[in-house]
């Protein structure tokens, strides 16, 4: 018989959520200040050379489609603005966390980010996730709770994987059964700890269960993540080749995505694949 937890007990007794690296936390605080100067953000990123180098690599990646090479953080901030640069510095940090996880997890997360970006840039923005970069971060992070569960509860996660395969069950359902808590709840708590916007933390929380948020805007973020997730799993870009994806009709209704839009969205998603793969190589 497994010991099961509720989310608070799990975080008190078993799991220590990782902190955001100091520089990135500082950049997030700066960007949230409406008086923040461009030069302050540039200085903060430049003060951490490894982060600056990784951020510049992303800035120059084909995925972000800049026509000119950017050689300095100062130039990048002027060209792209502080919010985009913040998201890229954040993406570089999350890539660092993910590159040690199983390859399938990194692939699934990066392509979910790309799918979210396609949804947002194809006429489905949300007040909480307005830009392609924000959407990418949201999709990238949606399953981060799995990394944490895997680190702190490895034996239980093996049981979860076995149950998923045996019963052809989605991972979050098996996690609830074996651990008592699923990756979406853990990921949402991490997003809260990192002081990400409520739309992102609630969106992560409810990407498998819309009832986890009472705010329609946040539920819409969760619904979009759910569809990006579904697209990736159906396309075989899943953590586990036996992964099962289920999307409730309520999710489709909430996003207003119709069958007629899907071929266009799918083409854009496929078109982004080579640049996403290149982006992932920059994390190594």
């Amino acid at each position: 018989m497994n010991k099961t937890y509720d989310i608070d007990t799990l975080l008190d007794e078993v799991v220590t959520l990782p902190s955001l690296p100091g520089t990135v936390a500082h950049i997030m605080r700066l960007v949230n200040d409406p008086q923040c100067a461009l030069s302050a953000v540039a200085q903060a990123i430049s003060s951490d050379p490894p982060l600056a180098m990784k951020t510049l690599r992303l800035v120059n990646a084909a995925y972000y489609g800049l026509r000119q090479q950017v050689g300095t953080i100062e130039h990048a901030v002027v060209l792209l603005g502080i919010k985009v640069i913040k998201n890229l510095a954040f993406t570089a940090t999350v890539f660092d966390i993910m590159k040690g996880s199983v390859e399938g997890f990194f692939i699934h997360s990066a392509f979910s980010g790309a799918a979210m970006r396609v949804l947002v840039e194809s006429g489905h923005p949300n007040p909480q996730v307005q830009s392609g970069e924000e959407a990418f971060v949201c999709g990238l992070l949606h399953d981060i709770g799995k990394v944490i569960l895997d680190e702190f509860l490895p034996e239980e996660c093996v049981k979860v994987a076995r149950l998923c395969q045996k019963e052809h069950m989605p991972a979050h359902v098996a996690e609830k059964e074996i651990i008592g808590v699923d990756h979406a709840e853990v990921g949402a708590r991490l997003a809260q700890k990192w002081k990400l916007p409520d739309g992102i933390s609630d969106g992560i929380a409810c990407h498998h269960d819309l009832r986890r948020s009472n705010v329609r805007m946040y539920q819409q973020v969760g619904a979009m993540i759910g569809i990006a997730d579904y697209l990736c799993i159906t396309a075989g870009l899943a953590v586990d080749e036996n992964a099962v994806a289920v999307v409730d009709d309520e999710v489709w209704q909430l996003t207003n995505i119709t069958s007629h839009e899907i071929p266009g969205l799918f083409d854009k998603f496929l078109a982004s694949m080579p640049t996403v793969r290149e982006l992932m190589t920059l994390a190594v």
């Binding site: 579904y230 159906t234 075989g236 899907i262």
Partner: protein
């Protein structure tokens, strides 16, 4: 299908000469079957199923290299 009919999806063509997905609908009251290109049948198909069909089509015909699902063998 959204109207509760059962339909089959057939991929027509080969990787070098792809023709696309065709929706095969049963004939009413034992009549002849009806075939529609996917693009003409979108209003009859749930968006989740459209994604499944497009993924299947991409695996069969496309060049993006989508991974093959474990339960599909070579043919």
């Amino acid at each position: 299908m959204l109207d509760n009919r059962q339909a089959n999806i057939v991929l027509v063509g080969a990787r070098q000469n792809p023709k696309g997905a065709i929706v095969v609908l049963p004939g009413e009251a034992g009549g002849a079957v009806q075939t529609l290109p996917l693009s003409m049948a979108l209003n009859l198909i749930h968006p989740a199923h459209v994604i499944e069909i497009l993924c299947m089509q991409e695996r069969a015909f496309g060049g993006s290299g989508l991974p093959k699902p474990p339960d599909i063998g070579e043919s």
